[in-house]
Structures are given as structure tokens and as C-alpha cells.
Symmetry: C2
Subunit: 277 residues, 2 copies
Amino acid sequence: LSTVPAWLNGAPADGALLLSRGLHYGDGVFRTLLKYDGQLVDLKLQVIKLCHDASVLGLDVDQEVLRSEAEAAGAAADRAVVKLMLLRAGAGRGYRSDSRQADRLALCYPLPEYPAAHWRQGIAAFRSGIKLGRQPVLAGIKHLNRLEQVLGSRDWPEGAGEGILCDEQLMPVCGTRSNLFWVRGGRLHTPSLENCGVAGVMRDKVLACAAALGVPVEVAGRPWHELSEADEAFVTNSLVGIWPLRSLEQRSWTAPGSLTRKLMTALRHPLINSAMR
Amino acid sequence: LSTVPAWLNGAPADGALLLSRGLHYGDGVFRTLLKYDGQLVDLKLQVIKLCHDASVLGLDVDQEVLRSEAEAAGAAADRAVVKLMLLRAGAGRGYRSDSRQADRLALCYPLPEYPAAHWRQGIAAFRSGIKLGRQPVLAGIKHLNRLEQVLGSRDWPEGAGEGILCDEQLMPVCGTRSNLFWVRGGRLHTPSLENCGVAGVMRDKVLACAAALGVPVEVAGRPWHELSEADEAFVTNSLVGIWPLRSLEQRSWTAPGSLTRKLMTALRHPLINSAMR
């Protein structure tokens, strides 16, 4: 496929992705979907988010093609993690590219077996040592430049369920693979993602559930102590829905708290439902 | 190779790199080498830089293996661009990895035919619209998270030879694919790379040449106007050595300037020598 000679670990190599701009520059976007009991959860929303992110990078994609390829990728599995990636097409060397075309890569991973206690009693979280850089142009989108998350996942303490990442002002932003929420005085807080972080589908869904329940919500950057002094805290992502926090540094909570529990019910997420029943 | 079913553009796919952490997270580093008249220029220095960058990401590599694989990758070509990439090994999903092992990918591209005028009269440069985010942990290393450079290369004006990137304080940092220098009152200036940017091998060599010529050097962040009011300016990378700037926004220069010309001679770079003789 490639006319550029390539060697992998000393042996001649070829393959469709050796010259991919996804590999060379992280020039692409992705989303991760839960398949549970034969259903791809939030497929339509996920594809909408993926296409939004693609448009930020200047990539054109067909939502219907993505949906049908996601279905096909998960077809053989009753429960799975389906990852959809869009990689800017074009094999040339150099950062410049006028291509708006994307290669679509779909992968079907086994669903991890998370302990029910992660939902029932919450997870221990830690504060990651990495501070997220500001990049408003890329903030919110789920692109393939994920070294901050990789570095933020080093030195993971034994038994921890998630690491919390701060920005340069030491304001909490998100988990390494999740969005972050906390509750203070009946109000739900989540960091804004104008400068860094990824806007997950589950974050949108939790915000929608809170609105439906009449819970006041604040989306804003807030100092660390507001998180550590919160009444309740939890992280969200598409695979697990909500995981309550039971501890973070010196702070511990009886988890899930009452509002967290209401949101866990309202979310109708299959893994939450399965763990909590 | 993979036990994770994968589809590329709707067709079943396999290949060594489908699950690579290089592709999924940009979890790796690279360097680009010039091969000219049968010689890999600065091979030893390039491999030392690559291994330094790898160590920042926690990757162990054998310099001798890298050198011999670079030689093998370029063996069939008299003139070429050899790209060496190190990708953290491990096919699991998720940001966490304890692997210190790297897959080595070597690619041999044709050498572009740059016009001799790029050296003899200099290039037109433009100010890119993207501002580089601060990330001291990753600053200076040549990693695979290059979306800022990709975005910074959009809207490339017709005829321009390079785009100049600024940091959040609007201080010039580097070119999209080069390091940046300028001369004011006999002093050589180049931005520090403590918060963003890539430390190229050619940057080190130019600094060494300046020291050998007794030219005073300042490595520091400086406001944009110091660049636009400079007596001379140029960009550097391993492929082209030095390209003088002949214009940047409203400013134009008679290029190359006298100190730039001295450095171009002192560098003994094959493409400079070929263009200038």
C-alpha cells in the first residue's frame, strides 16, 4: 500500500496505517462506546459528538456510515467496548494537509469486568501530578493527542479508581478518562472545558438529567478546595456511567451521596443498573 | 497479530500498528534525519536526542540498535529523509501502561527538492494563528502529539516557506517545523523551550557554531516586536540547516544577513553548501 519503505523493529513492514497522519501526528479524533446486552449505548449521540470533533479538525464524515460501521464492529459481541477513530487521510510527510477526508478505524474490545463496589461504594481517586495545558482550539474535543492523559496516569496508586487532573491554576478539570462533578449545598458543579479537557457524552447526559430533576448546575472553573470540601463527588464516562468518589487525598465521603444516587437512577445506564440492583 | 477485531473503512483489517499506543495516544517520540550523498547527517546526535526524548516518556531504547536500523532504512537511497519513530509497546486499551518498551518504526522518504532560492534569498514567513499551549513536562521533546503544528499549518499563504508560532503571551517560539533565531545588534536570540516547542538538533548545532564564532547568545522568551525589528532572522531544522527569512508580515529583510551567512558557512550542512556554492 505504501511506496515509502518502512521497517518495524528492524523487519520490513507494510500496512495501511504506517503512514497514517493519525500515527504520525495524532491528527484525528475518537469516541468510545459501550455495547451491552446487544445494544450500542447512545450510538446516535456518540456519532454526533465524534462528527463535531472531526469538524473542529476540518474533517468531513458521514454519520450514517459511522453508525453502520459501529454496529458492524460490535456485531459479534453481546457486550463490548467499541472504539471509533477518525484519522485524517493522506500519506505525505509534513504537518500541512488540505485533506478533509478521514480514514475510519473501528475496534471491538472486550468489556472490562469492573467490581460492583465501584458503583455501590464508590472509588478512591488521587490527584495526578500533571497539569493540563491550555489550548482553547482543541479543548473539549476527543482528539488523538493524549500524552497528557498518559503522563497523568503514571504513578497510579494501588487500588485507585481514577486520577483527577488540574489545570495550570490548580483548578480541577476532569479525570484521566472521565469528566468530574461535585455537589455543594444542593448545587451540582462541573468544570468548564474552554481551555482543556474532553466533553464526554455522559457529561452531557448528566447535565440533562440534573436539569430534568430541577437541580441547579454551575459549569465553571473552581479552586481545588471546593472539590475537596464538596458534599458529594463523582466521575462520569460512557463505559461506566457514574462512579461516585469515596475518597480523594485526605477527604473521604460516604458514597454514593443522595444527589449522586438520584442521578445514577435517572441516567438509566445499563452498568449502573446492573451493579445497583 | 491482534486479538481485537478491527475494521478500516468498513473492511476487516489487521496490522502491527492497529493497536499501537502511538496511534491511539501519540505515545511516542520521533526524529527526522537527512541522508545526503550516502551519509546520514548527524546520526549520532539525532539518536542521542531521540533517546533523551524517549526517556522523558519513560521508554528504554538501545542507541546502537537505533543507529543500525537508521542506516538500514536509508541503505537503498543516496539522498533521503529517514524518520525514526519510537512507539510505546503494549496493545491494551487505556492510558495507563507500565511498559518501558518501544516499538521502533523507521521510514525512508524521498528528499524534497527545495529551491536554492530558499537559502540564497531566504523565505517568506507568516505568523500562524495558533498559540502554543504551555506544557513544561513535554516541552522541548519531539513527541507524536503534533496537532498544534497541524492546526498551525492551516491557512498557509501561497508562497510562504514557514509559519511562526507564538505562545499564549504572543512571544515567538518556533516555526511549524523549525526552530527560530534572530539577530539584534550583533547578538543572536532564540526562544527558550521551557514551556513549549521542540529542541531540534540543528538548534543545538547553531548555538554551538555561534559560541565557536564568539557571537553573544541569548536564549529567552521575547516579545514579538523584537523579532519583527530584528536585523536578521532565520529558521533551522535538520533537513534544510538554515533558511534565512526575507519577510514576515510587514517586515522584510535582505537575506541572508551577515551573521546568518557566517553561521550558514560554519554549519557545514550539505544542502546549504550545495545551494550557496
